[in-house]
Amino acid sequence: MGDSLKAIIKNEEKKKVGDTLLPKFNIEKTKHIIRKENIKRLKIKKKEKKIRKKERTEPLVPKTIETQREPDTTIVANIPEETERDYETDEFGSYFAKEYEPKILITFSENPVKASRKFAIYLSKIIPNSMLIGRKKTSIKSIIKSCIRKKFTDILVINEDRFEPNGLLIIHLPEGPTAFFRLSNMKICNKRQVKELTSHRPEVILNNFTTRLGATVGRMLGSLFHYHPDFKGRRVVTFHNQRDYIFFRHHRYKFLKGKPALRELGPRFTLRLEWLQKGTFDSKCGEYDWTIFGRRHELETSRRKFFL
């Protein structure tokens, strides 16, 4: 009992000592005064910023993931002769030399759901000289054989899972590469957009395909459309690559006073490259130019590393 009493007395003594040590509450410096001080400081900062802005000749680069992108060895400022000749003589060289007109076949899986059928119909309306055929039970390899005989230049196959389209396979014929894209965020046309669709050949914009792999993919997507657009129709199709996701948009443009105006037509979707294969489709014995299947953690080492 004696010990506990002593402890209580000690604590009270401590409290007294502590009270004297605590700083006195400053009544004059209330909240609004502090706020005023802050505003003053901000004004000074702004003035300094303006002065710095006047002195600066080049604007600052914003700090985004794109600007901080990891350097890729295949992005070359001056394209060497070797790559130039490679572009001229590869599978798409004859398209860019305007030697053939693209002719495209669009199919889907065996029993397509309504969403993918609708999607295929709008695709066939956008892509000129394209044909929509139900696949039934034919294999892709036999489709390729008969398409080469009938002089098609590309095949698009829409893959579906859980009642919605989720993949797009593009095969360039007769000996071109095969690419498989993951398809997401698909939005098909509404009633207004369907009405405004015309059959003019669209212009194509390919954005941000910088690396060597990106160049191949961009050329592949570009070669689906005819090289002579109908400028009268004022239709434009865009493949915009941002952080390896390829955004597809379809617009009609118009020149108002001083500035252009856009009106969206057609479906919109996002593509992401899964693999690129040399030669026509061969899932069993084919050789890949580039594939991320099974090595995602090995290749995606950083958030700031992109392949296209």
Binding site: P80, C285, E287, T291
Partner: protein, 331 residues
């Protein structure tokens, strides 16, 4: 410019590249140089399919292209011969007794007497079936090995045009279905008379033609892998195989696990691997346009370089011939 190249790389655009490999303090470095500079010759139609030396003195490189054959002289640094092939694509090339032998994918081996006269005369013998690869034996100079799609390993005598060995497929599976065959590459081992093959359906096999049995003495299977090239290593019991989706495996024929190791860092199909017997290094080329150097033992990626076009083949000097090269150069 020092032109003592230790490696040569063939590309799909028809360019032959000489590669100098140098060691420096922090690691290893490869410096490429284009040997074809004529703009007309750079084309995807002239894809280089195979490379080989003419003899042990390393004076000339035999270049097998898609539709023609060229010869490059390493001393003059000039292309000396240009021969058009009548049929098929070149899939194997070598020189023996002043005659050039060219294997064609149509299933024919052409032989051309050197030096070439004005009237090019092809002698040929037919192999009955189309082939994907043809290679010469390292021990017997007159024996070649061939293989292809639905065409298992066969050994031929180029003097008598006779078959000396036909491989037999392994036993059918549990449903009694025959196992498919597509030989993509083969190699004659340095030390023994054995032959190793790899297949597009995921098999790696080792044959011994001296034994009475025609079935493989070693068979390994990896599911869903397409093996495109095979290479021998300093160790007699181990090979390296490369796959079409960009995996390089170390195959060991002794243990219970045949695929004993994996080399990482690829993102495209591996086309050719070379592992020189004295160095502890692996050189490889792949369709993703990169040249890579791995450490054989630690399996680490030491160096990789972008070389502008798809790389298809590799050729290196045997180490004994390059003793005079200064010490910082490898090979």
């Amino acid at each position: 410019m020092n032109t003592n190249f230790s490696l040569y790389v063939g590309t799909s655009t028809g360019i032959l590249k000489g590669v100098r490999i140098e060691k420096y303090e922090n690691g290893i470095k490869a410096i490429p140089k284009n040997l074809v500079t004529n703009r007309e010759d750079i084309s995807n139609k002239n894809e280089i399919k195979c490379l080989n030396w003419n003899n042990d003195l390393y004076e000339e490189i035999l270049i097998g292209m898609k539709k023609k054959v060229q010869i490059y002289n390493t001393k003059n640094e000039q292309f000396t011969e240009n021969i058009d092939l009548p049929l098929g694509e070149c899939c194997g090339i070598f020189k023996e007794n002043e005659a050039l032998f060219v294997g064609s994918t149509s299933g024919v081996v052409y032989s051309i007497q050197m030096p070439i006269k004005e009237k090019k005369q092809f002698e040929m013998f037919k192999l009955n079936k189309p082939i994907d690869c043809m290679k010469k034996s390292s021990i017997h100079p007159n024996i070649i090995g061939t293989g292809g799609k639905n065409n298992d390993l066969k050994l031929w005598d180029i003097n008598t045009h006779q078959m000396t060995f036909i491989a037999k497929n392994i036993k059918p599976d549990e449903l009694q279905l025959p196992i498919p065959i597509w030989v993509s590459d083969l190699i004659f081992l340095r030390s023994s008379e054995k032959i190793a093959t790899c297949m597009r359906h995921g098999y790696v096999r080792l044959y011994d033609p001296l034994l009475p049995q025609r079935r493989p003495v070693f068979n390994a299977f990896q599911q869903d892998k397409v093996f495109t090239c095979i290479c021998d290593t300093p160790n007699d019991n181990q090979f390296l195989v490369g796959s079409g989706s960009g995996d390089m495996f170390l195959v060991d024929i002794r243990g219970r696990i045949p695929f004993a190791g994996k080399y990482k860092g690829f993102c495209g199909s591996i086309k050719n691997i070379i592992c020189p017997p004295t160095q502890n290094l692996i050189f490889s080329v792949s369709l993703d346009r990169h040249f890579r150097i791995h450490n054989f033992k630690t399996r680490k990626l030491l160096f990789k370089d972008y070389m502008f076009s798809r790389l298809t083949t590799l050729l290196c000097k045997e180490p004994s011939s390059t003793n005079n090269i200064s010490s910082n150069l490898l090979l």
